[in-house]
């Protein structure tokens, strides 16, 4: 499936999401090109996290979520993971009582190729050298930044087609966040992993992305290249909380 220029990995159309009685997303449309990085921006409560949770089947949804033409809507989280969608939830969700190495093995839970898993673990230690140094340590003893790196590395162990990152910068110091984003950018280029990243830190996310959507109260209010979003001063000050 093409839109004329690039293959689309993910096409989302008319996506609604609800928690119990409350609707959070009111029919959003967006595309994710294969091999690209898409960022979803917006203020607190705009529905960014819910969008990712909808993609991985953790909330009830209406509308269609096409992954290379196959509809994921209504499928179980496990079935969606099996189709190659890895989700790094907000607040990391590393298993604190497991070692770094065990966390990575858990990320490869669905894979049967032992040698491939071993090779991928070594590759993760190359991307994230600090994890290599701490492989026998319990994840709970890692710093916040290291845990976030571990969460990303663990998701990559699945060899996902699509990586969903929810607020990777949350609770991290600026320097660590920059390091993390540099690694994520490298992974996107070297491994050709398609990424959707939700961020409050719009500046960093726009540097990384090649397509951006701005979400407000469950609706997409703007879509464009990072430059478009940066140049739109009204948008920047109103929704992103900073002026460029």
């Amino acid at each position: 499936m093409t839109t004329g220029e690039r293959d689309l990995l993910l096409e989302v159309r008319g996506l609604h999401a609800t928690y119990g009685q409350g609707a959070v997303l009111h029919g959003i449309d967006f595309d994710v090109p294969t091999g690209g990085v898409v960022t979803i921006l917006g203020s607190n409560g705009a529905g960014k996290t819910t969008t990712l949770r909808a993609l991985s089947g953790e909330v009830s949804t209406r509308g269609s979520i096409l992954l290379e033409g196959e509809n994921l809507a209504g499928r179980s989280t496990e079935a969606i993971v099996r189709r190659g969608v890895a989700h790094v939830p907000q607040g990391r969700g590393t298993f604190v009582n497991f070692t770094v190495e065990e966390n990575l093995r858990l990320g490869a839970h669905l894979r049967k190729d032992r040698d491939g898993v071993r090779a991928d673990m070594d590759r993760m230690y190359e991307h994230f050298p600090v994890l290599g140094e701490r492989r026998e340590q319990q994840a709970g003893s890692l710093s916040g930044g290291e845990q976030q790196m571990l969460a990303v590395a663990r998701a990559l162990m699945l060899r996902p087609r699509l990586l969903l990152l929810d607020e990777p910068s949350l609770g991290l110091a600026p320097m660590v966040t920059r390091e993390l984003f540099a690694i994520i950018g490298g992974i996107n280029r070297e491994e050709n992993t398609t990424i959707v990243v939700v961020e409050q830190n719009a500046r960093l996310a726009l540097d990384l992305a090649d397509m951006a959507y701005v979400l407000e109260a469950g609706r997409i209010v703007m879509a464009g290249t990072p430059e478009d979003v940066r140049d739109d001063e009204a948008m920047a000050s109103a929704y992103l909380g900073y002026a460029v």
């Binding site: 991985s56 953790e58 989280t77 496990e78 993971v81 099996r82 890895a86 989700h87 939830p89 907000q90 607040g91 969700g93 298993f95 604190v96 009582n97 497991f98 065990e102 093995r105 858990l106 990320g107 839970h109 669905l110 600090v130 140094e133 701490r134 710093s143 916040g144 930044g145 290291e146 790196m149 663990r154 699945l158 949350l170 609770g171 991290l172 110091a173 320097m175 660590v176 390091e179």
Partner: protein
């Protein structure tokens, strides 16, 4: 190299572990030929309970699902053995696979509704299982012998071994326990074992890694019930008699108490908890002849207060303290640790 550094070395630790294991195995094999039959019988009881406690540990300690009804699976294992041996005249070893299969299937069956129940609700439903077991056993008196129970012939050692009855039963229980512990050890280290623990830690995060929650949780219930069933078979062999009153709610609660005292999430804790369960009542009797129950309860409370992580947790803590460098200044943390690292 100080002795502490030497002990911290992974290779040393591995050798140490092997040495401890070999020593324990040696003692376990020597014990039945040294101690009196009564003591040997007590050891056998410890091994039997250890298998049941270990089974519950797989479910509660490693998978985070509680069960107050494991006495029911224990009873079913015991009755399967008794009925097949007494009513159908089966040789004692043949009943093992049948009892394992039945308790596995029943555990799987209970595991399915358990998928929708958490914490206290699951505790309550499994409690009901323990409560209904004795009346049901009485009801089907054609198979179970009703309130009178069933007497069976205790398995005897083949003559060429020259083993006394207590020694033979002890060795049977030892073989079963070693197999049970080895299997549990492997399971916990396996892919499925990691998934079990991941579910205990955080169900949602486990699911986002593609862990099939329903499959792993029902399997954990099935294995766990199977362990209780194996313990039940051994119980029948050693006691030679089953009756509904042997499997009241007290049994289920005792298994859970032993698990918590031994240490949740520890394989060896099951053995320690089982020893506690078997020996504490006799200690309690010595303390207070009039009300052993009160002394037992009080000792249980004290134990939980003194070592909340169970005996295994206490041992781990002491070992950690032994290995810790003596009062060195806090080591500087290296790497990317400049951020605040706050938990959201």
């Amino acid at each position: 190299m100080t002795w502490r550094e030497r002990l911290r070395d992974p290779t040393t630790q591995r050798w140490l572990r092997i040495a401890v294991f070999v020593a324990m195995l040696g003692i376990a094999l020597w014990a039945p030929f040294y101690f009196t039959p009564f003591r040997v019988f007590q050891f056998t009881r410890v091994l039997i309970f250890a298998i049941a406690v270990l089974g519950l540990g797989l479910l509660t300690g490693f998978n985070g699902q509680i069960s107050l009804g494991h006495g029911a699976f224990f009873a079913i294992g015991a009755y399967t053995a008794a009925a097949l041996m007494e009513k159908a005249g089966w040789p004692f070893l043949l009943v093992v696979p049948v009892a394992l299969l039945i308790t596995f299937a029943l555990g799987y069956g209970v595991g399915i509704p358990a998928l929708r129940l958490h914490g206290l609700y699951l505790a309550l439903v499994t409690l009901a299982l323990a409560v209904v077991t004795p009346p049901i056993l009485k009801r089907f008196s054609g198979i179970t012998g009703g309130a009178m129970g069933l007497n069976i012939d205790i398995p005897q050692a083949p003559a060429w071994t020259g083993l006394a009855e207590d020694q033979f039963l002890y060795l049977l229980a030892l073989v079963a326990a070693i197999a049970a512990f080895a299997l549990a050890r492997n399971l916990v280290d396996s892919r499925t074992g990691r998934a079990m623990i991941a579910i205990r830690e955080d169900e949602l995060a486990a699911e986002t890694m593609g862990v099939d929650l329903a499959r792993v949780k029902t399997l954990a219930f099935a294995w766990s019930a199977m362990y209780a069933g194996l313990a039940g078979v051994l119980f029948t062999w050693t006691i030679g008699f089953v009756s509904p009153e042997s499997f009241t709610i007290t049994l289920s609660i005792s298994i859970l108490a032993a698990l918590v005292v031994g240490g949740l999430g520890s394989i060896w804790g099951a053995l320690l908890g089982a020893a506690f369960l078997v020996y504490l009542p006799s200690v309690a009797d010595d303390l207070n002849q009039a009300a052993p129950g009160i002394a037992f309860g009080a000792l249980l409370i004290i134990a939980m207060y003194v070592f909340p992580g169970g005996i295994a947790g206490l041992a781990r803590r002491l070992w950690g303290r032994l290995l810790a460098p003596p009062r060195a200044p806090a080591p500087a943390t290296a790497g990317a640790s400049t951020e605040e690292g706050g938990e959201p």
